[in-house]
Point group: C2
Chain length 350, copies 2
């Protein structure tokens, strides 16, 4: 059978600058100059060095060069998200990757699963590998532990959720405004009994969206009915059963506001199962795949996901380039996308 030996049985040692220098008959320092593209090298020597490098299959060791280097260009950044497998997180990751790629920077990622302990552990793991910067969608509610890292020179930008007890840049959506406009939209179609189904209130974005829900009810002089409010819903199945219970109430809601994409999907399932997807209105926060292909299409408050990731990355690279301006929290607006589920009027017979 053809083919090499798998694993690392034949360890042909990787060539170093020293090997290239020996083959080219120059000093190690000259190789360093050529590899780093320093102009002041004799063209003939440059030629010899390049030829030797190619012949040996030389690849610079960035990890070693960064060790001694003072004014290092950024080479690697870390990114912490809620869950890499979730469309919102992965859209943010791709946006950050794109901005990083333009600068030849690579991205390390980690999923937090809403676990504050995991947040701290992964931050440490990134720091131990000396990443140049960190984009963080935090899980915990106290980021003061990061002040040491910030002062040690690690640039930080928070994304989707602003940091707590720490002064660094952040890029977030207008959660309260978006939620408020969702509820206002439902009110505009005549709904008075609007339920709130949301994630754990300890998650900052969930709290802000709940605040938006309350604000719109207050502006409409509608007293909030606690029986129509459910927090702590963190999965599709939990949302489905919560919605079913809501709709089994003696005086059920005529409309539902879902604070997050998994919750929205769970509610859609419940409405389908109960065959009332054409009676009970629904607006969800966060767009999600195939939302337009459902019957009816899901009306949502969409975040500018791609832009959030890009702006956060640009901010990080600006800091890495030496930007000393005051920290800033960028708030991006949301958009209401009407697709049918949010444009139903209250049924008379319910």
């Amino acid at each position: 059978m053809a083919g090499g030996i798998p694993g690392r049985s034949v360890l042909r040692a990787r060539p170093t600058m020293r090997d290239v220098a020996a083959l080219a008959g120059v000093s190690l320092k000259t190789v360093s100059r050529v590899v780093n593209g320093v102009s002041s090298v004799d063209p003939q020597m440059t030629e010899r060095v390049n030829a030797a490098a190619v012949k040996l299959g030389y690849r610079p060791n960035l990890t070693a060069s960064n060790l001694r280097r003072l004014h290092r260009r950024p080479s690697t950044v870390g990114m912490l998200v809620e869950n890499a497998a979730n469309p919102f997180s992965s859209a943010l990751m791709r946006a950050v990757e794109n901005a990083a790629h333009e600068r030849d920077v690579l991205v390390l990622f980690g999923s937090l699963d809403e676990d504050p302990i995991r947040e701290r552990k992964l931050v440490s793991a990134f720091i131990d590998r000396r990443v140049d910067g960190l984009v963080i969608v935090p899980a915990g509610s106290d980021q003061s532990y990061l002040s040491t890292e910030r002062d040690a020179g690690t640039c930080l930008v928070f994304l989707d959720r602003a940091p707590m007890l720490l002064d660094v840049d952040a890029v977030v959506s207008d959660n309260e405004g978006g939620a408020s406009s969702a509820v206002a939209h439902l009110l505009g179609f005549g709904h008075r009994r609007i339920a709130y189904l949301g994630d754990r209130a300890s998650i900052r974005t969930a709290a802000q969206r709940f605040a938006g829900y309350r604000r719109s009810l207050e502006l409409a002089h509608i007293e909030m009915d606690d029986r129509l409010v459910r927090h702590g819903i963190h999965s599709i199945d939990a949302a489905t059963s919560a919605a079913k219970r809501l709709l089994a109430l003696p005086d059920p809601p005529s409309a539902i506001f879902a604070s997050q994409n998994l919750v929205t999907i769970g509610v859609v399932r419940a409405l389908s199962a109960l065959h009332c997807h054409d009676q009970v209105a629904l607006v969800g926060f966060d767009d999600f795949p195939q939302a337009d292909m459902l019957c009816p299409g899901a009306t949502v408050i969409a975040q500018q996901t791609e832009q959030m990731g890009r702006v956060a990355a640009e901010r990080l690279f600006a800091r890495l380039d030496g930007d000393q301006s005051p920290t800033e929290v960028v708030v991006l607006p949301t958009t209401l996308i009407q697709r049918g589920s949010g444009e139903l009027t209250p049924s008379v017979d319910r």
Copy 2:
């Protein structure tokens, strides 16, 4: 205003082992022993060192320790996918991350967008950072350039698509078998004119799925009609228009096999737009989010995505642990999930 100075204006230098040693009044080497958990250190000294490390906020520099270290435990692996924002890619990423996390290994990622040049550039970028291993969903059709890296000790595992011209481990789905069973399923419902809509035939998985399509037709003694075959479809929109053109033929297909999730979604849109989602049968390769919530639900050939990623990662870590067994291509079976769109019989009136 409270808060520190942003950026890196106040660079309080990060403490080193030398600093910890000085504060604890021991040698650098003793600190190294404590940090690495070597048992043979006096408990009192260990105590002093730990106290000094905590007081200074010391964090080991993994990048520096790996430089001299001979038998390094893996600390970072790289992963190349088609597109981190696509659900298939991000599911694979999360699965690899999970396996890596159990070993305190971090994952660098990069999206290739089906670009072979980008594949080579990103592989080089990973190598330059001296990742311990690489999980690759390749874009190009020749991976022989990687043999040097493999021989230099970088462990490689291919995922979803086997490598070409290179002998390394791989984990793939049974693409031909899955596609074949999809078409067999449609034949079983009485369809004789079954269209194929697929991605570029130069993509290995697409070619294999097309082979499965042909095999099932041959087994049923149906001659393939070239007018019902469309390759090179790489986006939802392209799939929608291709499907519309197919259905406008004088003798349109009664069923469609879509070789990939984006194609399937595009076909669903076309069928909805033409109001024939209850007449034309559809089976797609790859499951996709909310496929069960459509009307009708989308019948698909599902890959074991999570398992593919996990098996690939386990294989990589086995190699990193010194496994010298012959290279292996693991082929995982697919599953047909019936949801309605694939269980329609040919309409008499078409």
